[in-house]
């Protein structure tokens, strides 16, 4: 979802609650807490996710001046992933196991010895590998509560909504058709009717009373 040019790809969310009056102080504190930090391989991390300046993905030193534009909060969600090349891993592992066997003048290593070598090879490769980096933009329109997140991946949207909740202490709801319909139906006092609605046959070859409903086992 490029902010200043090009096309927009996004899932629409909506903040369900009223933001507190002291939101600026709360947001700034939590933005720092949930800001992006590089992957720490020593801690066994292969992935890291956090907020960055949407205009500069290397800037995770965030404050409201950098993210609040009128009634818009604009942020980047940076996701770094370390992916070990499996062919390189297997080749390096074979090489290291060979070296060890020659050193010990043995024909076989124990399972524990192999695991030690495997961990060392994995850690060495992780330290030498650059992470894959992606940044997804988010715009929150404070006035209406709409939030546009620049990815349509289910997994990423789930992670996004979790991080959003932790950062801003409000819950957000995806604007799926049924949830929009539910909000409309609640206002019209048709909530019960909405729950009963079944798929309609748009084909003239399918009579109205033959719509099938899957039966749970």
């Amino acid at each position: 979802m490029p902010l200043t040019a090009g096309t927009v790809t996004a899932r629409t969310w909506r903040v369900l609650e009223t933001i507190p009056p002291n939101f600026k102080e709360l947001f700034e504190r939590n933005l720092q807490r949930q800001a992006f930090r590089p992957i720490d391989p020593e801690r066994g991390e292969l992935e890291s996710m956090g907020w960055v300046n949407a205009r500069q993905m290397l800037d995770s030193n965030l404050n409201l001046n950098k993210v609040l534009f009128g009634n818009l909060i604009v942020l980047g969600l940076r996701v770094d992933k370390l992916v070990i090349n499996q062919k390189l891993f297997r080749a390096t592992l074979r090489q290291e196991i060979g070296k060890k066997l020659r050193e010990l003048e043995r024909e076989r290593l124990s399972r524990e010895e192999k695991l030690v070598i495997e961990d060392k090879v994995r850690m060495d490769l992780i330290k030498r590998t650059q992470p894959n980096t992606a940044v997804y933009e988010m715009v929150w329109r404070l006035e209406t509560g709409h939030v546009f997140f620049g990815s349509t991946s289910e997994k990423l949207n789930q992670s996004f909504s979790d991080l959003f909740g932790e950062t801003f202490q409000v819950s957000i709801e995806p604007q799926f058709p049924f949830l929009r319909a539910q909000r409309w139906a609640d206002a019209q006092q048709l909530s019960a009717e909405l729950l009963e609605v079944l798929p309609a046959p748009f084909s003239p070859d399918m009579p109205v009373d033959t719509v099938e409903v899957p039966v749970e086992d």
Partner: protein, 169 residues
């Protein structure tokens, strides 16, 4: 039933909405929105149709006018509905084009009126206003659809018109 199950079970509403937009785009003029405004919808391509239950096959149609193709008619006659489609929305002199997913209303490749060259703060504000306008059009159209859909009398009349449209395609 939990919310997640309901979202899944009632996902057909989004596909019916897209298919209804398709029907209206080919049979009506402008659609009424809130506040006395109107919008026009035009089907573009590609379009993807799938069945509600039982048939796992999807029909994907590309090319210049997939929505008016014999394959589109055949898919509709089989009972398939629009799962995903590229649509053009017009309101006043402004146009938005997007691929809309019927199951979750995910937007892909939304184009909108040009904002021109301006400082970042202004540019982001203008572009987000256009995105919000699109969201408002979508929300209004969905509300028009739901008002019709949830009125048994109005909906049965609309369904007859939809059937006539499919037969005449």
């Amino acid at each position: 039933m939990g919310v997640l199950e309901l979202i899944q079970q009632k996902a057909f509403l989004g596909k019916e909405f897209l298919t209804w937009l398709w029907f209206r785009s080919e049979t009506s003029g402008a659609l009424d929105l809130r506040g006395g405004r109107t919008a026009e919808v035009e089907m573009m391509g590609p379009i993807v149709l799938d069945a509600q239950y039982g048939d796992a096959r999807m029909t994907t149609l590309k090319g210049e006018s997939p929505a008016t193709s014999p394959e589109a008619r055949a898919a509709l006659l089989e009972g398939k509905k629009l799962k995903r489609a590229k649509l053009k929305f017009k309101r006043d002199d402004n146009e938005w084009v997007a691929v809309l997913d019927g199951e979750n209303f995910n937007l892909s490749g939304l184009t909108m009126p040009e904002a021109g060259r301006m400082p970042f703060d202004d540019l982001i504000a203008v572009r987000m206003e256009w995105v919000m306008e699109f969201e408002n059009i979508l929300a209004d159209l969905f509300e028009v659809f739901m008002t019709l859909r949830m009125d048994a009398g109005d909906w049965s009349g609309e369904l007859v018109r939809i059937h006539d449209w499919v037969k005449s395609k």
